[in-house]
């Protein structure tokens, strides 16, 4: 008899527990759901969709037809694609170290106490947050090929140029403009990142090094760089993703010219997908890009995972 009530009570308890768990689950999912809905709609479905699309001949209007690997093969055989890969990789190889080095110099300078330091920070950092239209139309105006284009004017005046030139005319010149403007534009964020990291280096480290007779360069190599290793690593990954996304500068300055020499992968994708409305093939291009960036994506993921584990591991 007593056993029976025990069982009954246990059942009752189990029921209550189930109810509580259910309530807890529903409650938690209730908090998550609004975001999760958009996550599924605009992240999960697009990834799946993008993958499926890449095997189809697909445009907004007109018929959709399964073509197997045709998109991938055609892109593989398109010399313009490989040129855009080469252009993008070259841009990344030149611009990333340049951006990082310049940012590092500025961060080291801005770490010290200067008069009106805040305004210096505003001058070097704020352009990062300006729109591409604002920044790039202005630079295009500075690069004007007319004699009174700002750059032409000063360079002829200084005697560096004999006559005004057209800045986007040759591949080398066009790239120099794109890279120069990119450095000017995007160092701000890296400067902030590096400043944050520099401020976290304990000053005792430098004092100890000074006592050991280490010069500024030795201090930089043996203290600053090791302490900043993780931030720099993070920034490299960020910059790679940024460099492979290069589009706006090309769109505003050269439209990929002269003769495709500044056409980047995103620009190529834009041409195929939106100027020629071949969405399936453009999706295939984005998967090629994914594969190329995949290594860096993995590194990115690895850093994130480590930092999450670190934050939880306490």
């Amino acid at each position: 008899m007593a056993e029976k009530t025990d069982i009954l009570m246990e059942k009752q308890l189990k029921k209550m527990r189930m109810k509580r768990i259910l309530k807890r689950e529903l409650g938690a999912w209730g908090f998550l759901l609004p975001h999760f809905f958009f996550f599924v709609l605009f992240i999960v479905i697009p990834v799946v969709y993008g993958f499926v699309m890449s095997f189809y001949r697909w445009s907004l209007l007109g018929t959709t037809r399964f073509v197997g690997l045709d998109n991938y093969v055609r892109i593989w055989n398109d010399s313009r694609f490989w040129q855009s890969v080469k252009n993008t990789v070259l841009f990344a190889i030149i611009s990333i170290p340049l951006v990082m080095a310049v940012s590092m110099i500025f961060a080291l300078l801005l770490k010290k106490k200067w008069y009106g330091k805040l305004w210096l920070l505003v001058a070097f950092v704020s352009p990062t947050f300006f729109s591409s239209v604002g920044v790039l139309t202005t630079w295009r105006w500075i690069f004007s090929s007319a004699p009174n284009g700002l750059l032409n004017y000063y360079l002829t005046k200084l005697g560096l140029l004999k006559q005004p030139i057209s800045w986007f005319e040759t591949p080398a010149r066009a790239w120099a403009c794109i890279i120069g403007v990119t450095v000017w534009w995007i160092i701000g964020f890296s400067i902030l990142l590096y400043l944050g990291a520099l401020q976290r280096i304990p000053p005792e480290q430098y004092e100890a090094a000074k006592i050991d007779g280490a010069g500024p360069w030795a201090q930089f190599i043996h203290i600053t760089l090791p302490w900043m290793r993780n931030v720099l690593f993070f920034d490299v990954v960020r910059q790679v993703l940024l460099a492979f996304g290069l589009f706006d500068q090309v769109y505003f300055f050269t439209a990929g010219g002269p003769a495709g020499s500044t056409r980047t992968m995103v620009y190529y994708l834009y041409m195929v997908g939106f100027e020629r409305q071949q969405l399936g093939r453009a999706a295939a291009i984005s998967w090629y890009m994914f594969i190329i960036i995949f290594g860096f994506a993995l590194i990115n993921l690895f850093i994130l995972t480590k930092s999450i584990r670190g934050a939880e591991g306490e």
Binding site: F42, W114, V133, L304
Partner: protein, 284 residues
């Protein structure tokens, strides 16, 4: 004596840095200077002048008069709508999600969380074509909603807020439970004030992201009354020497697109610095 010398050195280097900063900022000055000139003057004057002979606000008047079919003032309004709504909606969905992922227990939490993290490693370009197609299928082509919605699925904000929420002391939560506080009330009255700095940082980054966005609106918008400021400016511009839509007006528009950001930057500079710390959470 040496202290005085140090100070002098600091003044000299400071001044040198100011001069360099002024040079660095020259494009922005040049943008503003050109915006005060008639386009015909700007393209023809030789030598180019930093301070205009006859400064005029005509360019600003011109871009606000929708005579050319494309209205920059409408563009500003659209940009503001998209940026503000997008930012607010982003926070409204991200904060509870971050709360669930940091403080609550539920089935599938691990899977959800790690898929959120995995997505952070995906280059954004992967989503461009599918988003375009989904927006088309949802019938949202050429609407402002098309500019806002895709961003709401992003996981960076959730991740950032979650990391910040992990810092909320357990005792605070336990005390709230004992008081019989509901989860929602706990979120609103205790968590939200606690994570305010992170929310401001995220809000600013998100606002700037929407405000500056270019490629996506370029793809989905087609009718002039829907254009955001960047698109309106690109479409607005005709030849450089054109007295109505030339370089002077373009630079006026460019300055208008840059000015609010500069103001935000100056006002919120402290939070931006903080954001960098947050953004590099555990990066060491």
């Amino acid at each position: 004596m040496s202290k005085k010398k140090n100070k002098l050195l600091r003044v000299i280097i400071s001044v040198a840095l100011w001069l360099f900063a002024a040079l660095w900022y020259a494009p922005i000055f040049w943008m503003f200077s050109t915006s005060l000139k008639e386009s015909t003057t700007a393209t023809s004057e030789y030598p180019p002048k930093w301070i205009p002979d006859n400064p005029t606000l005509d360019n600003y008047k011109r871009i606000f008069a929708p005579a050319s079919g494309i209205s920059v003032s409408k563009g500003i309004i659209n940009s503001l709508i998209v940026s503000i709504l997008g930012t607010l909606a982003g926070l409204v969905v991200a904060v509870p999600a971050a709360y669930a992922l940091s403080r609550l227990k539920f089935k599938g939490k691990k899977v959800v969380f790690w898929s959120y993290v995995a997505v952070l490693a995906f280059p954004g370009i992967i989503f461009l074509i599918p988003h375009y197609f989904i927006i088309y299928r949802l019938g949202l082509m050429d609407t402002l909603a098309a500019l806002i919605l895709p961003g709401l699925g992003g996981t960076f904000g959730v991740f950032l807020l979650r990391q910040y929420m992990l810092g909320i002391p357990r005792e605070l939560e336990d005390a709230a439970w004992i008081d019989g506080c509901s989860k929602l009330r706990f979120l609103v009255t205790i968590v939200v004030p606690y994570i305010k700095p992170a929310m401001i940082v995220l809000g600013l980054m998100s606002f700037l992201g929407y405000w500056n966005s270019f490629l996506w609106p370029l793809l989905v918008l087609s009718s002039p009354e829907k254009f955001t400021l960047p698109i309106a400016l690109v479409r607005f511009n005709a030849g450089w020497g054109d007295p109505y839509r030339g370089i002077g007006t373009l630079m006026a528009g460019a300055f208008i697109s840059v000015a609010p950001v500069l103001v935000i930057f100056i006002v919120f500079r402290k939070y931006l610095m903080q954001g960098i710390y947050l953004g590099s959470v555990g990066k060491e």
